[in-house]
Structures are given as structure tokens and as C-alpha cells.
Assembly symmetry: C2
Homo-oligomer: 427 residues x 2
Amino acid sequence: MEKISIGLLGLGTVGSGVVKVIRNHQDKLVHGVGCPVGIKKILVQDSAKSREVVVDQELVTLDPNEIVDDPAIDIIVEVMGGIEETRKLLLRALEKKKHVVTANKDLMALHGPELLETASKNGCDLFYEASVAGGIPILRSVADGFASDRIHKIIGIVNGTTNYILTKMSDEGKSYEEALNEAQKLGFAESDPEADVEGIDAARKMAILSTLGFSMNVGLHDVRFKGITNISQQDIEYGKRLGYTMKLIGVAERDGEKIDVTVQPALVTDSHPLAAVKNENNAVYVYGEAVGETMFYGPGAGSLPTATAVVSDLVGVMRNMRLGVNGHSAAFPQFTKKMMEADEVFKKYFIRLVVEDEVGTLAEVTTLFSKEGISVEKIWQNPTRGSISEIVLVTHKASRKSFQDILVELNDSSVVKHVGSYYRIEI
Amino acid sequence: MEKISIGLLGLGTVGSGVVKVIRNHQDKLVHGVGCPVGIKKILVQDSAKSREVVVDQELVTLDPNEIVDDPAIDIIVEVMGGIEETRKLLLRALEKKKHVVTANKDLMALHGPELLETASKNGCDLFYEASVAGGIPILRSVADGFASDRIHKIIGIVNGTTNYILTKMSDEGKSYEEALNEAQKLGFAESDPEADVEGIDAARKMAILSTLGFSMNVGLHDVRFKGITNISQQDIEYGKRLGYTMKLIGVAERDGEKIDVTVQPALVTDSHPLAAVKNENNAVYVYGEAVGETMFYGPGAGSLPTATAVVSDLVGVMRNMRLGVNGHSAAFPQFTKKMMEADEVFKKYFIRLVVEDEVGTLAEVTTLFSKEGISVEKIWQNPTRGSISEIVLVTHKASRKSFQDILVELNDSSVVKHVGSYYRIEI
């Protein structure tokens, strides 16, 4: 090969980073790949827009076909986002035997299997390391590093935006709205933050991670997820008093042949390293039967970290091109997916209850729990205001089903005025 | 390929783990590789010895030639240790077109370039992930994950034995001898602990990591290393009072074209996550220009974690065999090695001095430092015993040369009775 030509779809935050990384590390790329690497065309939405990097106007196009139909382009780097249009474009590119590197977790969580299959059929590589945990090479580690181990649990903080917001709420006492505002000003949150704050982004990443980790086809619809929009400062404070930190936690776990994948705000023991993962950083724990506990930590987002992951994937594609072995890297799921039932997942829970401040209330509440077979680990009562009192309970491990049942019973109970917020205690 | 046959050199702790992992995860291996994987011969030193795993006596041999000369064996897994004999054996295996997976850091740090070149010439793979940080896929991450980034610093705890000893000394107040004894009883330290406690093992790993990270041929002789045998309980206590934890730290750093690689007991700020890496665990921070800070954490040693790394490498070799592309994975150094001089490495230092308890002593000592251009950040004086007093100083950043010079001057000074221990403050 004399030269490898890239078509870049998108020149936003990550796209600009990709241009910079390819420019700045050209010597390392030439050494690793064996020939120069250049960007031949760049798709933009608005050619007049001023950008973080200066690019030759001749490279820029508004028409994706100019890239997908160009026979001189070897690899497509997709950093434009979007789902349906992007899916069609990439399928067409793969059918024209172009390799694809993408940072698009939305697309991979929804259409990963279809795209990977099309790539494989056409002898093309489709790499997507940048779609999960930006600068941390976690997909590679899960796929290759533990190729010989059986992973039984993956737990982590995989969304930088929500972790930034929760850090500000927790460490600086900011309200959710203040923290979100600040994150938006600093570019850590989008102007429409829904996908992040509702947990959708994290759920997509957990779907991708569990697909690789458990070798099952896990889609977004398999992930039970909940966002951070209803967390109050009080929840965080009460958590602290009991020794916990609030985080948006993704958990994928396997028990025998069944799995459970969730994303939700949860409490983490203060002394656990996950509690110390601050701001926009990500951290993922992987538990293997043989290897035990390993952890990967790093920037979860940002222009250059994500671009580095994209360009490392590019290097992988180009090495395969040199050896003529593209299209063999995809690991197709080995197992049929089976999800755990509500009575098969056991967790500790934190729950707030507003109760009548009367003699015997506490006994009545704890009796309800014990009838449901849930034992209480900690209980803590807030000073009374008038005839109303608030109690916070931490349970021992209980099944999701038992916990759902106790919620119903607490709502029906005459001594409980109001069932407040509740969270899993994850670790 | 109908079946892949492995020759196993060594059936100690790691070798037994390899047998177990291959047996327990045969289904995952078949799925990943496309054919069954079996161990055809095992080299042992004593065929009568009882072991952690039961193996068919027919597989066992005392003669390495039976493995290296067997044309039916495709891959050699070397977990027997040793240097000169092992080097010859592996060179011969590579010349007979057998791929090699090794966990032997001693061998790789000393003869890595020769072995990798021989492998490449013969179209063979030579993988050695297990040689550094057992269960953490750190070499893969440095080589592939950051293929597009420029790494400027690698810092970490890469020896489990010494970290175990220092944890016990620090957290439980044990003496060095007590902690070493305990580590030996639990199998975390060898009966001859020299390579670990003198920092040689960690230095070998740092040589391997910097060779990959900086793309230069870094050998053991390029690493300045020091062990933990002279650390006193008092050093640890004084460090604690000033907010530091004692660790055996490996550091590889680059400034422009020059590098510096060291292993030494050093102080780490208590709030830094490295301070919280306990017992036999390892953690490695990698700093890339684009990606920023990333961290990898996990078990640094142990039978199954290390075996998992070995078998993951095996899977890599076997996938390459299926594609017919063995012998292309080695990344040969791109740059000529240049080491930093003593006046180019800047660090903060902690130093203990025994001085005369007289008016003006403190002023005289600090004047010595300031004449050498070293400013003092913290100073702390121990209650006097008789006419003798001890002071502990923490400097701002100073070059290694300045610090060596001040050591000479302190030794010559009439007010300093004795220059005690000193440590770099690494992070």
C-alpha cells in the first residue's frame, strides 16, 4: 500500500480531534502502519462554520455520497452521530468494501449485530472502541484480554455527564439544575441532555459491554435503566450520613446462564474506589472467574481522548489491511440470551419513608419488612417535625421482587404517610 | 485446523493455572479459535512431585527436547522461568517455527529484542502479556490501545510481593522481616525473595513497559532501581505524618527525545489512588498526550490471573494461525534510546536529618538547601532527645543532581550529625 485514504463523516468535537490526532502523530502512524495515512474527504453540515481545526476547504463536502461512492477511499470514520440515516450510509459503505470505524454507541447498541454481520460478509472491519468509555481501551480488554476467562460481572460509571453532575451535587451541594447548567456551560452536557441524564447513553454502553463480555446479543431493550433527574440533595445527604456516595452505576451480571443488565442511580460504599471517580471520568470493573477483579479508569469523553480511541481502531484496520485479514475480528455471540427474573437478582436497598411519629411505628414498619423476608441492616430516624417523622432504612440483600412487594405494602400501610426515594446499594 | 497442540514448559504455580484455564474454558476457546485446543506434552523437573492439578502421566516429560523437537506441537507455552537455558530452548523452538507464549519477564527484559527478531524472521508469534502485571492486560493496552497517542509517562506499582510487604508494614505496623515472613507463608514471596525485594523484578517490568510505551529499546541496565530492604517503620511513620504513603514505584517518563526509567521506594500523596492499592495488587497509570490519564488496576500475580493472561495470548496466536498471519505483531522500536541526565530529572524529596539541637541549626540547614537552589516546602522537627534533634524536610522540585550535591554538603556540614533516609515524592 502506498497510502491509505480516509473519509471522515462529521467534523464536530470528536471529528476535529481525529483530524488533530492524525496530523500530530503522523510519524507514529507511518511507523505502525507502514505507509502514510491521509484524510481525503470530510462530510460537514455547514461548510461555512468556523471550527476547532482548520481544514483545506477542498476536502470538505456536504454530500455523503461523495465519500461513500469514492473508490479511492479505504476507510470510513463515522463521528457524525445519528441512527437511521447513518445506519444506511454505513451499510452502503460496507457493501462497497470500505472498512468502518465508529464512535456511535446509539447506532451500535441498536444495530450492532446487523452492521457487524454486513462487515463480516464483505470482508470488512467494523471497529467501535470509542463508543464506550472514550479514552479507556475497555472493549479491546474485554474482547481480547479476557479471551480465556469467563466474565461474571461488569460494573462501572460509564457516563461522564451524569458523573460530573452528581459530583457537583455531592461535593459542592449544588442542586441538579445548577449542576446540569454548569456541565452544559463547560461542554460536558449537551444542550438537550436527555440521553445522558435519563440513563439512555449509559444503558447503550452497558448493552455493548455485556454483548462482548457475556457473548450474548444484548440490546438496549434488555437493559432496565433509570436516570438521575429525580435525585434530591436530601437523598445524597442521607446517603452520606450512612457512608455512601450517589453514582449512576451500570451493572451487568451473570449467574449461570442468565444475565441482568441495569443502569440506575445507586449508592456506593464511600471506601470503594468507584466512590472516588469524580467529574467526567469513567471507571469500569471487570470480574472474571480466573482473573478476579480488574479495573480500568480514564476520561470517559472529550475530543482528544475519544479521537485517540478512534485512531487506535484505525491503526487496527490498517494493520489488518497490510496483512490482508480484514473482516475476521468480529466476535459473534456464542450464547442465547437469557434474562434473570425479578426473584433472581439480590441487592441491598436504601429507602426513605415518611411516617406518623407514634409509639410502635418503627416496630410496625420493621415487621412489614420481616414478613416479606427482608432483614434490615441499618435504620436511622430523622428528628421529628410535628407529628411526622422520617426514617431511612438500609436492608440486607433482598430480591428485586421482594423489594417491589414491600413497596406496595408500605404504600398500603396506615403508619406510612409517604414512601420516598429508594436506591440499590451496589457495592 | 483440526486441533491445536500445545507444549507446556513448566508445571509450577502458573503452569498449573494454565492447565486449569484451558480445561475450564474449553468451550470459550473452541468458539474463539474454531477448533479444540489441547496440551500435548508438559515439561516438569520432578515427575513424582504432587501438584495442584492432576495431569495424565503420559503427558509429562523430563526432557525439553521431546517438546521442542515434536513436529506436532504448534505452540510452546513457557512458564518455567530461568534465563540462559530457557533462551536457548525458545530460540530453537522459534527456529522450528513454533509460536511462543511466555510469562518470563526476566528473559524478556534481557533478551526480548533477540527473541522477538527471531520470531519475526521465522514467521512466528512471540507474546508475553503475562510477564507484566499478571491479570491486567496492560501490554496490549499500551501497544494497541494507545497506538495513535504519544505516551509521556507510565507510573505504577508493578510488583505484588513488595506491595504486600509495604501494606503490612504501613497498615499493621509490622517490621520488614515480619511482613516478608508472612508474605512467604502466603505464597506472595519466594523463599529467595531477592529479585522482588531488591526491585529487580519491578525494574524488568518497567524496562518492558517503557520499550513498548516509548518505542525504544530499554533494557534492565537502563533502569535505576532500588529495593525496599532498608525501609524502616520510622520512615513510614514520618511519611504518614506528612500525608504520604510508602510504595515501591516504577516510573518511566519522557521529555522530548529523552527518557528516564526508575524503580524505587517512594512516597505517594495519601489522597492519590496509588496510595490505596493494597496487598498483592498492581496498578499502572498511563499518561498520553491526547488521551490524558488512564489507569489499569488488578491482581499483579497469582496462579489463575497470570494463567488467564497466558491463555489470552494463546488465543491471539491461534487466531493468527487461523488467518495465516503469525509473525507480524511485534512492534520494533522506532526511536533511538536517549537517557536523561541527572540535571534533567526534577522531583520533590523527603529527607531525614539528625542535627545538633542548637540555636541556628535550622537556619544553617535551610541555608545549605537554598544555596543549592532547592527550596523547602515542609519542615518538621521531632522532639529533642538530649542534645540531638531530628528534622524531616520535604523539598520543592529539585534536579537529581542538585539533590545528590546537597547530600554531599549535608554530610560535610558541622551541624548535621547524620543524614538519614531519603525518598522521592512521586505523585
